[in-house]
Symmetry: C2
Subunit: 285 residues, 2 copies
Amino acid sequence: MDECDFRFNIVIVGLGLIGGSYAMALRQLRPVQINAIDMDKKVLHTAFEMGIIDKGCDNSGDILKEADLIIIALYPEETIRFVRNNIMNFKKGAVITDSCGVKIEVVEKINSFLPQEIDFVAGHPMAGKESKGFQQASKDIFKDANYIITPTKRNKKENIALIEKMAKAIGCKNVVYLTPEEHDKIISFTSHLPHVIAVSLMNSNITENDIGLFTGGSFKDVTRVAAINSTLWSELFTLNSKNLIDEIESFEKGIKEIKKAIELEDRETLTDILKSASIKRRKIL
Amino acid sequence: MDECDFRFNIVIVGLGLIGGSYAMALRQLRPVQINAIDMDKKVLHTAFEMGIIDKGCDNSGDILKEADLIIIALYPEETIRFVRNNIMNFKKGAVITDSCGVKIEVVEKINSFLPQEIDFVAGHPMAGKESKGFQQASKDIFKDANYIITPTKRNKKENIALIEKMAKAIGCKNVVYLTPEEHDKIISFTSHLPHVIAVSLMNSNITENDIGLFTGGSFKDVTRVAAINSTLWSELFTLNSKNLIDEIESFEKGIKEIKKAIELEDRETLTDILKSASIKRRKIL
């Protein structure tokens, strides 16, 4: 992207793994300014020293008033609270986006109190790491990632286009559009359920054995995301509980089915179950 | 390892992913000869052209008679059948090892008919890939892998030492000793269960959606091994069914517990469950 294309004054709210990564990736687009709001003054100082932000502030006062684009990289409930508490600080025409892994709750709540002249275009970069915090941030986490936008009727077309342009400019491969309802349903399967599974497998080890000596790649892969940010994911799971319960129950049925075939030592059925999974998996790169 | 240390005549039985990888890795130790037995003449020809075997044979006749070390890289039941059918072809003092992912069945059966002067030292290199076949073979699959040896009382110390030496020489990081019973119990948790889970998650997708557009790293990691060799893994699951059923049921209990906390939107319990998993996972590299 040509630098002239991104002449915005940007504020990033929350300089953790995701917010820090946004700052690093956006810096390369040479926007007018990238400023940041974070409670942690040390992180703000580090980010300033690294040259990825122009100004840092540990409270959201004047810094918001000049912002054209506000990227909130907080947990869902904090995101809602931040917008509510700063209603008076956004300038007319400002575009707000977020990075939350649940959408119905965030979009409905924020739109319920947001003035018409400020546009909230909700986004979900499907990027992350099992570790949290600014120290883990990297512009590369967006590379080839999926980015979901969940627009609503009140969003202006040019603002939706701006978020898509930004997502592609920071390296995302696919930008897809869903309603908040579709998002929460699909994500309960593609993201929340795998985390539930990884956690349950990891907790299933009740031995004192150093199991690291007896693992191959399969155990490590399936449990990788069990090294989880417990506060964030507890919030995501409960905010999407209905969809997630449905997906867990569908998964439980599958486990019962394969268990039965193993109990009966029914290799024919087992081979069919395994073949079906294998064909589906090979379709995903 | 000094090349003088490995002056053996080796026969590899089955030039698939594992057997082919053994040939490639062992070639670097410059043994006297590496010969191979495989049904597929094309694969034997390719391996010969690549210089990783000296002779290939599609039936197990004379080629076995000179072998000091026979490495069987077949499925468990084929491994047993191969040894049974070739009882007369092994020379006195020969060492046989295998690469099977279940041990009780293989060790008991083979030792029940193997003459005293031939030694079967069972081994399980915890290395692999989700794809099968010689085309996928690589000397690097053993790099930093775990290698489990399940010796029995009839094994000679020097023969056990030989398998350990070989495992380290081809790149394995940890060589650990277990009884066949311990092996099958631990592996049902660290290897068979993760495969059951990956397969069930993959099959749980009943939509026609192109879910690749909505996945992040978690879904891809948890389902990686769902691209499975269905014949081999059906055999492994059924040969280790009792242990595996126990582990599946313990995992099912964990899923029930987290599901309950999500249903109740009980964030405190959820955070505890997630924290416990996170701490355990961070102990495994």
